[in-house]
């Protein structure tokens, strides 16, 4: 019985839990409740993934109204993987939140914080699971609005301005998406993704559809922070509370990327997007530019969170690069990196949050000597950083391998070379952090900085170990990614 309604529960559970958090009135209770809900959604995501892998796609008619009239939830390997990442990260981040939130957010706002967190979670899960184009827009706005509010809770007053900046850019992006969806509806009379996919080819050559495509791609690119539409991201990540940065960095852009995959491949189809429209070269160029510009900027930052934020922009370049190949290997490399990057950035931002908890600073110069004081936290940064660079035995290596393979398959060896040079840039900015932490002598030897508490270390290390585990045993990630890519491109892998 319950098993049948898992797709609905996946979204409804956090959605209903969110206002409940507000009613609990006590921060500790709200946290506990949110954590339980986080784990429950994770469990549901695991069950859904298993069901999809063993029995094939799940179509769920919301409220019993069947598809083209009602809203359909549709779970296939692509969405199941994204559900797994989003709920998994929330399950790891929430236990971590207790201490971190207690330090960074005043007590009267903590209940609101967990409410917003669950809303954001519900929105993202909704994006991943819905089979309806308009519903996707609504969920996108639920998650975006709650994340604007979450970001504004940062301690620094610049959190407010960066949240505002994000709000403006995010709303423009959302409105673009709305226009795109509207134009699609005008031409086809449906909003269901599968119906859209069937009816679009008949009208695909009209100017309206071209326009819709352009609006959708630009709108989603804004949301996923594709270079040069990434301007909101570095500030938002830098000034948001540590927990929010971790959660958003690991999930928000990934979910937007998923939405792009859905629109481009499922609705418009690879044939239209890459042959009729010049999506391939455009994405390729922007991905490579983003990769280099953002990595180069990251090298010159003095704030660790900002280094990692620019690195995120660069890493999004890798994902987009994989997608721009429009081959099974390329798209699966993109999806794989989507998963892997969530693991590495999650681990890194959590470790950095733990450092912030103890030192109260994010500046590189204040990091001096932290390697001695917080050995376990810094070890997590080391492994996360190595993963970012793409050293073997970490997930980063797996992504990089497939990206290079995809580039070589298309015969684009210069792209492969550029990918590798990109990871050397990552080596530079990661090493700046490590050198500051391990080599520089602390300016003032104050002894009170000690290792982060276990409630922060355990979640951090859970992700660090996941970085290593999925770098060695890739049967789940590579398997699902290839299946998903085959599905999106309409070929049997």
């Amino acid at each position: 019985m319950i098993r049948q309604h898992l797709p609905a529960l996946q979204v409804i559970l956090p959605l209903l839990a969110a206002p409940t958090c507000l009613l609990l009135r006590r921060a500790g209770l709200a946290w506990l409740f949110a954590t339980v809900v986080g784990f429950a959604t994770f469990a549901i995501a695991i069950l859904l993934l298993r069901q999809v892998l063993s029995q094939g796609d799940i179509a769920y008619a919301m409220g019993g109204w069947s598809a083209p009239w009602g809203i359909q939830y549709y779970v296939d390997p692509v969405s199941a993987l994204v559900l797994l990442i989003v709920s998994g990260i929330s399950a790891v981040v929430l236990p971590y939140a207790a201490r971190s939130v207690a330090q960074e957010i005043p007590s009267e706002r903590r209940c609101v914080f967990y409410t917003l967190f669950l809303l954001c979670l519900a929105g993202m899960l909704g994006i991943a699971i819905t089979g309806d184009a308009f519903n996707l827009f609504v969920f996108l706005e639920i998650s975006s609005l709650s994340s604007y509010a979450l970001i504004s809770m940062g301690q620094d007053r610049r959190a407010l301005t960066s949240s505002y900046q994000y709000l403006i850019m995010g709303t423009i992006g959302a409105t673009f998406i709305l226009i795109g969806v509207g134009l699609l509806y005008v031409m086809t009379g449906t909003l269901n993704m599968q119906d859209l996919a069937q009816r679009l080819p008949a009208v695909a050559t009209t100017r309206t559809i071209h326009t819709a495509f352009a609006f959708l791609v630009v709108g989603l690119s804004l949301k996923l922070a594709l270079f040069p539409l990434h301007l909101w991201l570095p500030n938002a990540y830098t000034f948001a509370p540590s927990v929010v940065t971790t959660f958003l960095a690991a999930t928000a852009t990934k979910v937007a990327l998923y939405a792009l995959l859905r629109f481009v491949f499922t609705i418009f189809g690879a044939e239209y997007a890459f042959n009729t429209m010049p999506l391939g070269p455009t994405l390729l160029l922007l991905a490579l530019l983003g990769l280099f510009v953002a990595s180069a900027v990251a090298i010159f930052q003095e704030n660790i969170k900002r280094i990692l934020a620019y690195s995120s922009v660069a890493q999004i370049g890798y994902m987009i690069l994989g997608i721009s190949f429009a081959t099974v290997t390329g798209v699966s490399a993109g999806i794989l990196h989507l998963f892997n990057h969530a693991l590495m950035k999650g681990a890194l931002f959590m470790a950095v949050g733990a450092i912030f908890l103890r030192t109260g600073s994010m500046q590189l110069q204040h990091l001096a000597g932290i390697g001695r004081r917080m050995p376990w936290t810094m070890a997590a940064v080391v492994i996360g950083g190595l993963s970012l660079i793409g050293v073997p035995l970490t997930v980063g290596f797996i992504s990089k391998w497939y990206l290079i393979q995809a580039a070589l398959e298309r015969g684009w060896w210069p792209v492969a070379v550029l990918v590798l040079i990109g990871s050397l840039l990552a080596l530079v900015y990661v090493w700046r952090i490590l050198e500051a932490a391990y080599f520089d002598a602390p300016a003032k030897p104050d002894a009170h900085i000690k290792e982060a508490p276990l409630s922060l270390l355990i979640p951090t290390w859970a992700l660090v170990l996941a970085n290593i585990y999925f770098g060695i045993d890739t049967s789940l990630t590579v398997g699902v990614a290839r299946q998903a890519a085959g599905l999106l491109l309409g070929v049997q892998p």
Binding site: I398, E409, A416, L427, W431, E435, Y438, F439, I472
Partner: protein
């Protein structure tokens, strides 16, 4: 089957040692005891693997499968066994030496030092017993990363800068070229296994294979082929035992070992000889031999001189691999072992001088032979082995390499080898000769005497090893011979 499990043990033992070292960090005696015992245990394990290999068995063990069809796998084969034997034996000796050196030199962070050392050895074993290119690459990168804390051990600004050069060069070559070459090979041939005769034969045109070959040779930055050699002199800021074992044996030999493997098992010797790039790479190796020797002559710092000497000697092995004749490959394989014994002796001596007198410059070592006769005598023996004069082991490997150049009719390279031997004499022998026969520049402080006993023991053993290898080169030769007969 049990052989396969032993393979796992070879990797696991040093890792276990690293954990135990960290745990026992508070008591130096236990910590160093653990190091010694695991070094001895590792050597015993490797020895026990030898008989089946000689009988032709090739036990393999799959560890994991990160890419479908491309597992992480360990496999026992003669060349790897040879490398592992040398590295694990010299780990014992270096451990003995380290105890004397690190204590006498009052180095800080000794626990980290011994732990990273053990991890590096595990990685070296991984390189030695890698069953395919992917596994080798993984171990290769772990080796780079685990030696980084050793290179930057001092924690000074100089160490930090040297660390940047070290990591920057090794990572950019391996990530930039080697990884690309591997993925390329994988997409051309669909396998990265080591196969006698090569996996790339006829899979692509001469041009593509040539490019690939160049990518491999430059990608293996640990082989220190010019112009990617700068990391090795930079690594000399490390404590002497690190320079001795890692930057004369484990790390650099892992580099040339990988090149040998690539030549023999990935391309196949036949293919190597037909590639257009081979001739150019041969000249580059020859140029490295001569140029590095010339640079070595200008260095007054003893460790820097030895580092450039190592760069030059590594190119001998590369040369042999590129010549791709049976004799040359045997010479290369033997040179891995011979040079290891010779060069580690020289580094031990340099360290002993440093500990006893705090002198690092060659010009300050005049007359030192009277105070430190054993050290200087050992230096003399090591030098002879590097130069390739009887009765030292280096003679044999050079002999086979010379025969190899003759077989391949590379007269120019024959000339390079001869010239290099002369240059070796010019930059190595002055040290012991002046040590014994010159008057000290300024009177040595009283009380300067030989280095601590553990150091001396290590020096004597490796020096004797150089001689023993001249008299009994047979086992080495047989192992090297097996590489191609498989």
């Amino acid at each position: 089957m049990s052989q396969a499990l032993l393979l796992q043990g070879v990797l696991a033992l040093p890792l276990l040692a690293a954990v135990l070292i960290v745990i026992s960090g508070r008591s130096p005696n236990v910590r160093e005891g653990v190091t010694l015992i695991s070094a001895a245990g590792l050597f015993a394990l490797v020895i026990s693997l030898a008989p089946p290999v000689v009988d032709g068995a090739r036990p393999a063990l799959t560890l994991a499968e990160p890419f479908p069809g491309l597992p992480l796998v360990l496999e026992l084969e003669p060349l790897g066994l040879l490398f592992a034997l040398v590295a694990s034996f010299l780990w014992i000796i270096t451990s003995i030496y380290s105890i004397g050196y690190m204590r006498a030199h009052h180095e800080a962070h000794q626990t980290r030092f011994y732990a990273c050392f053990a991890v590096a050895l595990s990685a070296a074993m991984g390189v030695a017993f890698a069953g395919n290119m992917l596994t080798l690459f993984v171990a290769y990168e772990v080796l780079t990363l685990s030696t980084y804390p050793l290179v930057t051990h001092a924690g000074s600004d100089e160490a930090k800068r040297a660390g940047r050069v070290y990591l920057g060069l090794l990572m950019s070559t391996s990530m930039g070229f080697l990884l690309l070459a591997m993925v390329w090979t994988w997409s051309i041939s669909g396998t990265l296994d080591f196969n006698p005769g090569g996996i790339l034969r006829g899979k692509a045109g001469n041009t593509v294979l040539s490019i690939l070959f160049v990518l491999y040779v430059f990608g293996i930055g640990k082989a220190a082929l010019m112009p990617f050699h700068r990391w090795l002199p930079a690594a000399m800021v490390a404590p002497t035992p690190v320079s001795a074992l890692l930057h004369a044996v484990a790390v650099v030999k892992a580099g040339v070992f990988t090149i040998l493997k690539v030549c023999v098992y990935v391309f196949g010797l036949e293919t190597v000889t037909t590639l257009a790039a081979t001739q150019w790479l041969l000249y580059l190796a020859g140029a490295t031999i001569v140029l590095a020797s010339l640079v070595a002559m200008t260095k007054d710092n003893l460790k820097a001189r030895l580092a450039y000497s190592t760069i030059s000697q590594l190119s001998y092995v590369i040369l042999g691999a590129l010549l791709a004749t049976q004799t040359a490959v045997i010479g290369s394989a033997m040179h891995i072992a011979m040079h290891a014994f010779g060069k580690i002796t020289l580094f031990f001596c340099a360290g002993a001088v440093l500990v006893a007198t705090h002198k690092t410059e060659v010009s300050d070592m005049r007359g030192l032979g009277r105070r430190m006769p054993i050290t200087m005598a050992a230096f003399f023996i090591g030098s002879l082995s590097i130069i390739g004069l009887p009765p030292m082991g280096g003679t044999w490997s050079k002999w086979f390499l010379v025969l190899g150049t003759l077989e391949a009719q590379q007269m120019l390279l024959l000339g390079v080898l001869m010239l290099s031997s002369l240059l070796n004499i010019a930059y190595l022998l002055p040290v012991p000769v002046r040590g014994f026969f010159s008057k000290p520049k300024d009177e040595l402080a009283d009380g300067v005497k030989e280095a601590p006993l553990p150091c001396l023991i290590a020096i004597v053993i490796t020096a004797l090893g150089c001689m023993a290898l001249f008299i009994y080169p047979e086992p080495l030769y047989r192992l090297s011979n097996l590489i191609l007969s498989a």
